[in-house]
């Protein structure tokens, strides 16, 4: 009798321990699964851009896009490349698509200029590291936004972004802006900035400044296309359906929303 009572108590104690330890573990794993499915859940709206590499080869088109963006947002023009601020720029094919080239890729292809900007990723690594939520993914339209008022200049996001899309203000940018557009604020020393997909223009139903500028050029039609990825009838979805497109560094799992027609 004593013996069985003792073993009963032992078993009861052990099961209580098992339940106590098991539940939190179970809950944690369920939550982890939920987190992942949340990330994968498509937003009701996701702004995206398609860049046609062939149509963006002409210096005239490249120059017009970059200048339109940088004028629109008071982006300074600083000679020292380590301190320069850029929202949109070009880089050689070889560097932009390092994982798509190999030692025998044609030299001429390696050297092609490719337009690059913030990818407004579906799972942005910059957002994960920002300690103040100064950069975050807007749920209403999928833009990876910058709140300049909250940025403390820690530059974690610069280190986290695998695309070099962000720039840090090492100095007061105002002296380096040729003509300040009062409608858009400048930035100060100590904040990080990047392309915001022209959130302020989109709010008024316009397309981003770079897209508008190159559409106006005769040779720039279709070079950059902007639209809602969640809308099956949008121009970007149409192009993605019809043409072969690639994204930058797909292996990282950030899921960029800037696509390239090659």
């Amino acid at each position: 009798m004593d013996d069985s009572r003792r073993s009963f108590l032992k078993k009861a104690g052990l099961s209580a321990l098992g339940i106590g330890a098991g539940f939190p573990l179970l809950r944690a794993s369920v939550r982890a699964l939920q987190d992942e499915s949340e990330q994968a859940a498509p937003l009701s709206k996701q702004w995206a851009m398609v860049i046609d590499i062939h149509k963006c080869l002409q210096p005239e088109v490249i120059k017009t896009c970059i200048e339109a963006c940088h004028r629109e947002h008071n982006v300074p023009d600083i000679e020292d490349p380590r301190k320069d601020i850029e929202w949109i720029r070009t880089e050689s094919f070889e560097k932009v698509f390092a994982d798509q080239t190999h030692p025998h890729t044609q030299e001429s292809i390696k050297q092609l200029p490719v337009m690059i900007l913030c990818n407004h990723c579906a799972s942005p690594s910059c957002v994960r590291v920002c300690p103040t939520k100064a950069t975050w993914k807007r749920e209403q339209d999928g833009i990876v936004m910058m709140d300049m008022h909250r940025c403390i200049g820690c530059r974690y996001c610069i280190a986290a972004c695998p695309y070099g899309a962000r720039s840090f203000n090492w100095q007061d940018p105002r002296p380096f802006i040729q003509e300040i557009r009062p409608e858009y604020p400048t930035r100060t020393k100590g904040v990080v900035e990047k392309c915001t997909f022209c959130f302020e223009r989109i709010a008024k139903g316009m397309v981003p400044a770079c897209v508008e500028a190159c559409q106006k050029l005769p040779q720039g039609a279709g070079a950059l296309t902007f639209g809602d990825l969640a809308d099956a009838n949008s121009e970007v979805v149409k192009i993605l359906r019809e043409k072969y497109t690639i994204r930058r560094r797909p292996g990282l799992g950030t899921a960029p929303n800037v696509f390239y027609v090659i």
Partner: protein, 178 residues
């Protein structure tokens, strides 16, 4: 009582001296000093009632900022008058209150607050545009030709760590927590 004259005289002197800040400001007419910000001509009302603006304008601006930047909204409907305004620091507030020195600064100097908004938000000038002397380069580098693609920012992509180190080395004073 010994030396009562001296004590009373001393007390009177002390009181007068201690009350110096009080009677001096009254005597010099500074007691009634008010910052008197210059209101915009030809405009009759602000976004909200005068009383509300006086006490809450900084909160209103914070609200606008969050609505625009974080919520993606653009228009504000005045609760007092029902008018619609674009929520913008420069395009709305400074459109009516054109002269910062005559308006915002008057009060802020008086109250000893220094909002830093103007470090980034641009004041409108008479021409509506600010001109700056150009310090940067004169012409764009040859980043745009096919033969010689961009070297600008190449460091950033080529070797991120190296670039970061270079940046940090170039401005050690600005490094946080290194």
């Amino acid at each position: 009582m010994y030396d009562s004259g001296k004590i009373i005289g001393g007390l009177v002197l002390f009181t007068v001296a201690a009350a110096f800040p009080v009677w001096y400001t009254h005597a010099s007419g500074k007691a009634g000093y008010q910052p008197n910000p210059v209101l915009p001509e030809g405009k009759t009302k602000c976004v909200e009632s005068k009383e509300y603006m006086l006490s809450e304008h900084m909160n209103l601006l914070d609200e606008w900022r969050d609505l625009v930047v974080r919520e993606g909204q653009t228009t504000y409907v005045s609760t007092a008058y029902g008018d619609e305004y674009e929520m913008s620091f420069t395009k709305t507030c400074l459109d009516c209150h054109e002269k910062k020195e005559e308006f915002c600064d008057k009060c802020h100097t008086y109250a000893d607050v220094t909002p830093y908004c103007w470090d980034c938000h641009v004041e409108k000038t008479a021409t509506g545009r600010m001109q700056h002397v150009r310090v940067g380069r004169q012409s764009k580098p040859d980043m745009l030709s096919n033969a010689e693609p961009s070297r600008r920012g190449a460091a950033r992509l080529e070797d991120k760590d190296k670039a970061m180190t270079a940046r940090i080395d170039s401005e050690p004073s600005a490094v946080i927590g290194r």
